[in-house]
Symmetry: D2
Subunit: 355 residues, 4 copies
């Protein structure tokens, strides 16, 4: 199902080159004021065509709200937004029916849907489907913000160039705010040039490059989540793997903690200003699946865009022979900068569903 959540139901629909894409968001309580400029800002962060790291497909992606908002206030009914597909050049993709692109869903979708899926532009598997996700996330995060919960991510790495990590015991609101509005979100902004060079080098090689995104949630009080299948990690992970191209996730120290001793990894408790905090935050703010009141931090791995202009080996599903493929059309050499807002949006959906 393209549906996420237990207390909320987030349904994503659409195909890249069909009539439209969109979201239905069920479970948003009545009476919240939504600032549409903030929604559009988030959608702009994700939108392609801003610079050379992104695909030149520069469309409007304006969210037409069909229901659930009246005079900018949530009515309690499901919120539906539709984004019409206007700028589609389907001719580019005609040979993909026979020649599945390596690293893409062309082959697996062909098997699953027995050739009936809309292959144009990646169809329902297109990264374009993340636009309604960002729309939905922009609604969720505004409501969370009214409860004092902030969400922001940054480009943790592109290729081998790394940004600084969040200081997980002390993330101030001004940093969260700056990142959550940035279109190339970095803690250490001096790394922007190096990262752009990494992307440009890939682009010049007709290639692409992957990266990681770190995301933080601040202001979440202790006691949210639950044991076993009710845990925060499981909920956020499910949300993250709903984003195309995510191939890994780790909370707090994550894979690094697997190399540590318990005495190194455990976060000691202490009272600070009358409140229980931890001195370190290797657990990413989550113990036993439940928030401990410290910032939630996690990283996701984004694989390099599979659409590259280099010649690749593939099969021809019609002739049933091995073949070669050069992917034409418009594609990003690196989706990591744009994906930050998508990661934040799905994090907002996950946190909203937990509350």
């Amino acid at each position: 199902m393209g549906t996420f959540g237990n207390k909320i139901k987030l349904s994503i629909f659409g195909e890249s080159h069909g009539n439209g894409i969109g979201a239905v968001i069920d479970g948003v309580p009545a009476g919240y004021t939504i600032d549409m400029d903030k929604v559009l800002l988030q959608m702009a962060r994700r939108a392609p065509g801003k610079d050379k790291t992104a695909t030149p497909r520069a469309e409007k992606d304006f969210p037409n709200i069909k229901s659930g908002l009246l005079n900018g206030i949530t009515t309690g009914a499901p919120i539906c937004c539709v984004i019409d597909n206007t700028n589609t050049q389907s001719g580019d993709y005609s040979n993909l029916l026979a020649l599945p692109r390596p690293g893409h869903s062309d082959y697996t979708a062909f098997v699953k849907y027995e050739g009936n899926n809309d292959i144009r532009g990646g169809g329902h598997f297109s990264g374009r489907l993340t636009a309604p996700i960002v729309f939905a996330g922009a609604i969720f995060r505004q409501i969370l913000q009214q409860k004092g919960i902030n969400i922001a991510g940054h480009i943790s790495s592109i290729g081998k160039v790394q940004d600084k990590d969040f200081d997980p015991v002390n993330i101030d609101n001004s940093l969260m705010e700056r990142l959550s509005e940035s279109s190339f979100a970095l803690i250490d902004q001096s790394k922007e040039d190096l990262m752009r060079q990494e992307v440009e080098a890939a682009r010049m090689d007709l290639d692409s490059i992957g990266g990681t995104i770190e995301c933080a949630v601040t202001g979440l009080k202790a006691g949210i989540g639950g044991p076993l299948f009710d845990g925060i990690e499981g909920k956020i992970a499910q949300a993250m793997f709903g984003i195309p191209a995510v191939k890994g996730i780790e909370f707090g120290k994550g894979f690094e903690s697997a190399k540590l001793r318990g005495s190194q990894n455990n976060d000691a408790f202490e009272y600070k200003d009358g409140k229980v905090v931890t001195k370190t935050n290797n657990c990413g703010g989550i113990l036993g699946g439940i928030s401990n009141g410290m910032p939630i931090t996690f990283k996701v791995a984004i694989k390099p865009t599979p659409s590259i202009s280099k010649e690749q080996d593939t099969v021809n599903l019609q002739t049933k022979e091995n073949d070669k493929l050069v992917v034409k059309g418009r594609h990003d050499p690196c989706i990591v900068p744009r994906a930050v807002s998508v990661v934040e949006a799905m994090t907002a959906a996950a946190i909203f569903d937990l509350l």
Copy 2:
């Protein structure tokens, strides 16, 4: 909820020192023969007390089957198994009510349940709850095996000692079988001594050590799973984070792929024996959330056991002052070897739910 699955519903209940723990497994079709010896073998792999890597709490953990099996054949009704708690030394844990153990759920559970949760032995958060998970997994995997699907994991690392990875394009059944029956599962068995030394060193230091587990699913045909929130990664991730101590997961190359170019990471297709395969398997057998017919491979990070005998800083929730804690009682210096069967079990649950 302690409930996993859409097509199946796996409910886990119990507290470490309560009357009993167990599982209700709903959605298992009628007519499958279950070999109880194989179930007990899996439970033995997880059971503590086998050697120095594990806690000396050596109980029987015999699964009493209340329903759903008649003469060893599934009836189609929910399968309930109860494991009675017989060997509990609750006195050990009395001071934990005031002094939450760093790295444990004591504090977060205290906040969530307002002090009403059963703290003895970790209560509902105890690793002991993984025994019914292994029981359930043993049912699922036997049925999957009858469909040609095999699941096996191995200790990928303990501390800094690493096992070899699966060769993801070519995993033979004999390896899968050997691993899935081993109580110290390694591809390169020569690493066992080094790993045991790593654990013993931690134990001698009154400390613990983390590790990673790699798991593979073979025999899953192409076309299983789906886009967005329907993907295999999301389903398996949700299952894995239901296991206490898991802090990260990556599929295929995972975090490594974030450093790669698309041309390095994409898996080229080719025909082999008339079948579409990929030459490499960096994607871990999953494209667009859907299986491509290659082995599914993923790794999880297991944090070091938080229960250590070293003195640690914590807070006293009664006096509301900072305090010190030495955790007494029985605990594993390393749960990674025992956790292999738990990872396999939850993988079986996830795959079963997808089919």
Copy 3:
């Protein structure tokens, strides 16, 4: 949630006088051909403005399909349809904010949404929301028909005028076909005049009138459904009570069977043409929540439209005093004829979800 189903997810969105209403249908397999003329026929059966039994609000209600269909064939992606709201006269409803209409959701919605819901035209509670339900049902029933499963309903009664019941052991396809295309569906067509007189009499009295609808499902093989919360009755009932104005449901003999002896109510089995059938069908084709291969039959009670032009007692929520209300605007004196297609549509959704 405005979401129905386990294997499918049917999301209904929209408000009567908002920008649009619609449905997202997730879980429809790829490769089914959908005849759009048949969809429009079903929507026409539900549409208002056909004759004096219905509201004069005569709009097009054309379903714009945004996704999930390509060249008339399902792609496997969620199907989204949007129906724009074009003919809305919101002025009619202005005083309802203060004066809740008896029998309507105005008061309960006011309490639940704290006054933020869109009250215009009934908002999200409007009978207009059944248009996307009929759209969705038209998709489901076409696919079911390709599997040999037919669904049809008829006006079982309006006020005190009754149609004949289905012969539950022998329902032929031509009857099913005739009913499922009729806009005033009756088994005994000679009752149409009497029923229309009943409606007209209510209309002349500035009043409205209720009725019942009987629905049958033929061609469903034995063995579908399950015990306890998995039963067909529960699934269909949940679907039916999702339709505004439904206040009761009974399967087979239903409330009548509560007066019977077991020997009268039990349906004896017999072999007929080598197949197990029952001689009678008092159970409505369902035993233990599972289909027995006979037609599924059930009846629903539709309350009289609460919008009537007579003066009624109500409260004024602003002055907090008792008050009087005359409901203006356009409304049906009897929605039963139009509701037949809605009942069929939700039945199709329920059966589809069970398969």
Copy 4:
């Protein structure tokens, strides 16, 4: 699935003549005190063997609580209760494998489970499975009661003998309390003799008799529930059809309202003691799927017990010929009195899930 609920998960397991039956109740918050005597009282109301209306199978049905309660207080972990099967006479049922009992699930279960289901005593379809339902309901209703919500039902009719209905605008707590503790719950207690005669007459004829149960929920504030598939009617209906033998449900006036004019059926609002109430309560306390603050009232139809000692026509599934059957063993001539507590229990589950 044998699982009910969204916010709660109620799993029922067991087979009549297997090792045990029980329930897992997930989602009960921590910190509620449960009076076990009240639980046992409810279970006694359902238990067989009290008098001639019931089966002589007089077993203890003691609920062994495995988890989720510590010193009588909920811990927040899932509550598991197991009831061992001790008094089973399986020999009675041996010929049912070949000769399905009319009105029973024998045939449909045979088809669904391909003969692998446990047929003894009705297996998973046995009315005995309602014992853990009553256990779970007894937990839910105690917590609801602490929130001022009361639930009680009565035998509305047996055969043609009718009890008085609730006065739906005015149900006092003492009546609710009396009914909810009674083992033959009647508003007009003078009807008990007539009803017992009706049952006894059926018993003497080797037959059985059906009836209806009316149930009320008082103290539920306005604004609970929601539109479309979120409504109270749908939730309660789904719960009721989870009870074996229920074949119909109606809310408020239900099927009677289908004969009425809107002016007769609408419930006028008025202020009473500063509170909005309705003068009548034909809607059963529910408008637009949402509670209006008046008592919730509904009736369910219970079919006559299908197990009767009269000879009946059936088929022989082995010889594939028509045959005759006389059902031996112990069975109730009328389950309606015992079913009252089951209806109340599932109502409690439904209301709990809505809150």
